[in-house]
């Protein structure tokens, strides 16, 4: 006996059982086929020799509700506990999908089925008179609540102290404290300054998150913490705090990958990450291009920056132009009136010779130097430069190379989806060009809301919740900070 997801090839076997059990009320073959092929349904079959039972669940992403479509066990195979097995599978799947309730209709005269549902905690919430035709039998509408795990996530990989709380796929709180202002006078993130700020900010940020979610720490089911990649000293504050919280009330602890967190953030908006997807993560610390086939099991790094992160390049160029830190918003603002074609700045790693080794890698160091050279040359010659033009041209070069490579990755891997994440997503031009080029190329573009794009605790909580919902074992208490954690390692055990 084995459980297997149904495919179109199983339709005939399903029809045989349908007609035998339900006669004139059986589903039509085309209904069965469309049910199995619907992207939002999940059909499972029990095979013992041939198909002996099947069941289906429907849940539209972000709906927080799942419907049981059918449960059927062939007449000759009843009384063997197959119905219970199928229902258990459906309930597990509902949990994984983030459903907070499961709803179903059942024939009022089907005592056996009603009894089974009662055992699983289903209660009648409605009655539909003469629902089944032609028999005219009433339908009971039954419902059970699904307890989605409440997970608290901690983010301290760079200069943002984040504590987020989710319940399954639902965002309950996303508290953030940034030490950005403290780094401003240094023109970039200073690790020791960031680590000190995390320690001071953690407790107030935790309290803010708990208040926002309206829960106590005891109500949390699991703790998740980003253990890399990031600044070691900063990571260790989050890890220390996470271990303290976990030990206080014996809550399972999950060490999760910060970069995968950026991808997982989309779950909190859409209920799921449409997969497979290419993900472009651009921040002050990272510039990474990922191929995500499965959020928890299969994340591949296609390329990343070999020197500066894109956000870092914005900061450095801002300094060259005499603009304050952080450079991204400053450059974005003055570039608005500049001509992006005024200066043709280089696109790093975009030459034919780069394609073999660095097809999907980025380099912004040369671009930054080119801008500095341009500005210094003008100074030496006593020429006036147009800061808006330089800013717009620089921004154009960054945006161009990011999206050219991201879209090339979508095309090469035949993945018509692109997800953006990271603080640089705040850049207006990046979002605009991404929208244009994705539309041209027939690629679906996803940009979660900004508070979920920048570093935040909710995205870490979200990955933690996905691990819990999928029955993954917690991490052992002895994990440490991994500044260069590989993106393929979603969870550190």
């Amino acid at each position: 006996m084995e459980l297997k997801l149904l495919t179109a090839a199983d339709v005939a076997a399903v029809m045989e059982i349908e007609q035998d059990l339900f006669g004139s009320e059986a589903w039509a073959e085309r209904t069965v086929l469309s049910e199995i092929e619907n992207p939002f349904t999940h059909y499972i079959g029990i095979f013992d020799g041939g198909l002996v039972g099947y069941a289906g669940l429907n849940s539209v992403p972000a709906s927080f509700s799942a419907d049981i479509q059918t449960i059927a066990v062939a007449a000759g195979s009843q009384g063997k506990g197959y119905g219970k097995l199928l229902l258990e599978w459906l309930m597990d799947r509902a949990l994984q999908l983030g459903a907070e309730q499961v709803v179903l209709e059942v024939r009022a005269d089907n005592d056996r089925a009603v009894g089974l549902y009662n055992k699983f905690g289903f209660e009648q919430i409605d009655l539909r008179k003469r629902y089944y035709q032609p028999s005219g039998v009433d339908a009971l509408v039954m419902r059970v609540q699904v307890n989605q795990p409440i997970v608290l996530g901690i983010e301290s990989t760079c200069d943002e102290t984040g504590v987020g709380i989710v319940r399954g796929n639902r965002l309950l709180a996303n508290a953030l404290h940034s030490s950005m202002d403290e780094h401003a006078k240094f023109g970039g993130v200073v690790p020791e300054v960031a680590a000190r700020a995390h320690l001071e900010a953690f407790e107030p940020t935790l309290q803010k998150a708990l208040d926002e979610a309206g829960i106590t720490i005891e109500e949390v089911d699991a703790i998740a913490v980003a253990n890399g990649p990031g600044l070691a000293g900063a990571l260790m504050v989050g890890i220390g705090a996470a271990k303290g919280l976990s030990l206080a009330h014996n809550k399972p602890l999950y060490a999760v990958n910060h970069l995968v967190g950026h991808v997982g953030a989309d779950v909190l908006e859409r209920g799921t990450v449409s997969l497979p997807t290419i993900a472009l993560l651009v921040s002050g610390g990272h510039t990474s291009l990922l191929l995500v086939r499965d959020l928890l099991e299969d994340v591949e790094l296609l390329g990343e920056t070999i020197d500066d992160a894109a956000g870092e390049a914005f900061d450095k160029v801002a300094r060259v132009l005499g603009l304050p830190y952080p450079g991204g918003p400053q450059i974005d603002a003055i570039a608005a009136t500049g001509n992006p074609k005024a200066v043709r700045f280089p696109r790093g790693l975009s030459l034919p010779k780069d394609m073999e080794k660095h097809r999907f890698d980025f380099s912004f160091s040369g671009l930054k130097t080119a801008v500095a050279r341009h500005v210094e040359k003008a100074e030496i010659l006593g020429e006036e430069i147009s800061k808006p033009d330089v800013a717009a041209s620089f921004r154009e070069a960054v945006v161009d190379v990011l999206l050219t490579k991201a879209i090339a990755a979508c095309q090469m891997y035949d993945v018509p989806r692109l997800l953006l994440g990271g603080g640089v997503v705040a850049n207006a031009r990046l979002r605009q060009v991404a929208a244009e080029r994705c539309q041209e190329a027939g690629i679906e573009l996803r940009i979660p809301k900004f508070s979920l794009c920048t570093d935040n605790g909710a995205m870490i909580a979200s990955i933690g919740a996905q691990l819990v919902m999928n029955g993954k074992a917690p991490s052992s208490i002895g994990f440490g900070a991994e500044s260069t954690l590989d993106v393929t390692q979603v969870q550190t055990h």
């Binding site: 000190r196 953690f202 309290q207 005891e218 070691a232 000293g233 260790m236 220390g240 303290g244 206080a248």
Partner: protein, 194 residues
């Protein structure tokens, strides 16, 4: 029941029942604080045969000590205390070591990295020189003290907490005692041409 945590040198935890030390665990590794902090706490609780719910007090070592490791213990201790609804107690680790020397004049000295030292002076157990950062030369000039190792652990942190609380001292500050500013200077920016 008091839980003491210290990551000023190695990673350690201790449990006291009243004044009595009932469990102590030390991991020497000077770089494994993040890895070992949970293990140390878990082990002392197991040895003492208690759950966290039985804890009534929690003390953490505030340093001065190398910062990266120090913060791990403070972060773990304060979040553990907060989750249990306990107000955490902060102990200056040089004071904790100084308490062990009740006679004579001692200078408790701990490595501050970068050829500097954290030091505090005590006369018959009374602090006469507050925690400071000294250069090697300045340290050598402290000739009227006997210099002793300032390596601390959770046992000493716990003992100091119990002692100071009995005296009615205020130990509510649990912030890290850095004694130095972050070692950075704003970048002047550099020329790329020429």
């Amino acid at each position: 029941m008091l839980l003491a945590i210290d990551t000023s040198a190695g990673t350690s935890a201790a449990v006291f029942r009243g004044d009595e030390l009932v469990a102590f665990e030390l991991y020497d590794d000077p770089f494994g604080h993040a890895e070992n902090i949970g293990l140390a706490i878990q082990k002392v609780l197991a040895t003492a045969g208690i759950s966290t719910k039985e804890l009534t007090q929690l003390a953490v070592g505030r340093g001065p000590a190398p910062y990266t490791g120090l913060r791990v213990g403070i972060a773990a201790g304060t979040s553990l205390a907060s989750a249990l609804g306990i107000r955490p107690i902060g102990v200056i680790t040089l004071d904790a070591v100084g308490l062990q020397h009740t006679t004579g004049r001692v200078l408790v000295v701990a490595d501050a990295k970068r050829k500097e030292f954290f030091a505090a002076g005590f006369d018959a157990g009374q602090q006469v020189l507050p925690p400071s950062v000294l250069s090697a030369v300045e340290l050598a000039q402290q000739t009227d003290f006997e210099h002793v190792s300032g390596v601390c652990d959770a046992r000493l942190v716990g003992q100091y907490a119990l002692h100071a609380l009995a005296n009615g001292d205020d130990l509510s500050d649990v912030s890290a005692l850095y004694l130095r500013s972050p070692d950075v200077t704003p970048s002047p920016g550099k020329k790329v041409t020429g």
